[in-house]
């Protein structure tokens, strides 16, 4: 009896069954490897037949309601994305603190409103790649070289008192850099100090620098980013098709130089 049981246990499996198993595994593996992703469909992504964009139109130059019509960088960007997707766009002007609720409730499809990428929100929404970096920049006069910008030892640096620029300078000082601080009430005053030769460099956010340069057409500065503050488009996390389409359209606008043209128009 024991010998019979041992014989049963050691009996070789029929070779045909093993072969079929191997072929099945290989087939599944190959299918997974070469499966084609379902192309996102605009009808499924935006079932209402239009893209509804939530925007806080009280934050120029990104969006401003100037008496009935909303204009700004974010408006142009949303319109360009809709054109890229060949879909109509409609804007919903919402206060900043209700934007995320509007997105999560489905009242709007997207948020394009100078929104910072916030990892804490990524449990319920996803972001596209960023379309603008409003991080801090260190600016010097136009004839400064890149090496000058990076060294800046014992430099007179202008900045807004008690701002994020102030915090950045504190970090540099803790790293042993010797800096002569020039605090001002407003970041524009820091740029005035640079332009008038009272400072060797100024630290401000990228939007402030670009707007300042627009207002002082005869003056330009070289600059380098020292921190990141990324603005991106937000989409509810379950709207996978919408995210793919909008992300793809944004990439196309970057590739064609259209995004840069929009930014240059407003900043």
């Amino acid at each position: 009896m024991a010998a019979a049981a041992a014989g049963w246990l050691t009996r070789p499996k029929p070779p045909g069954l093993a072969l079929a198993f191997i072929v099945a595994v290989a087939f599944i593996f190959t299918a997974l490897l070469f499966r084609r992703e379902r192309a996102p469909d605009s009808g499924r992504a935006f079932p209402a037949g239009e893209i509804v964009v939530g925007v806080d139109a009280s934050f120029p130059p990104f969006a401003l309601d100037d008496g009935g019509s909303i204009r700004g960088l974010d408006i142009d960007l949303a319109s360009a994305i809709a054109a890229e997707l060949n879909m109509p766009v409609r804007f919903s002007n919402i206060g900043f603190y209700a934007l995320h609720d509007a997105l999560i409730s489905g009242a709007v499809d997207l948020l394009i409103s100078a929104l910072r990428v916030d990892p804490a929100r990524m449990v319920e929404l996803r972001y596209t790649a960023s379309y603008f970096d409003n991080g801090l920049v260190i600016a010097r006069v136009a004839d400064a070289t890149q090496a000058d910008i990076e060294s800046l030892r014992k430099a007179r640096i202008a900045y807004e008192y008690a701002s994020s620029a102030d915090a950045e300078i504190r970090v540099w000082e803790e790293d042993g850099r010797s800096i002569q601080r020039l605090p001002y009430e407003l970041p524009e005053y820091a740029l005035d100090a640079l332009r008038l030769g009272l400072a060797d460099a100024a630290i401000v956010d990228a939007t402030t620098l670009r707007l300042y340069q627009s207002d002082h057409g005869d003056w330009t500065a070289r600059y380098k980013y020292v921190t990141q503050d990324l603005y991106a488009i937000a989409i509810r996390i379950d709207r996978v098709d919408a995210a793919k389409l909008v992300g793809g359209a944004l990439d196309a606008l970057k590739e064609k130089g259209e995004l840069a043209r929009i930014i240059d128009k407003w900043l």
């Binding site: 806080d56 009280s58 934050f59 900043f96 603190y97 995320h100 916030d118 804490a120 929100r121 807004e160 008192y161 008690a162 701002s163 994020s164 102030d166 915090a167 504190r170 020039l182 605090p183 001002y184 009430e185 407003l186 005053y189 005035d192 100090a193 008038l196 009272l198």
Partner: protein, 108 residues
Amino acid sequence: MNYGDGAKPAFVTEFGWNDHPRWTGAVRPSQRSAYTIQSFDLAEANWAWVEKLCIWALRYPADLLSYPDNFTLISADFSKKPIYFALQDYARGWNRSENPWLPPPRAG
């Protein structure tokens, strides 16, 4: 004061400014720090009956993801904000001046 209560100590349990860039009721970060410090000077010079001035708020246990986050001196992740250092300097008697910033630059 008008009713003879001048000797009673008063505690201001919440005060402060907010510097959130997207809130219409906010001030600039520079103004937030300056106004806060000036409040201590004002109370010290004029309100002997004010025993405590309490800033709202030191830190929240978690970010609210809204403008009240910019009432705090320390972020939920324990990073100290510039106003924290300004107040620290003030408490230590450092960098005390009437104006914490330079006058607007002028040409020539």
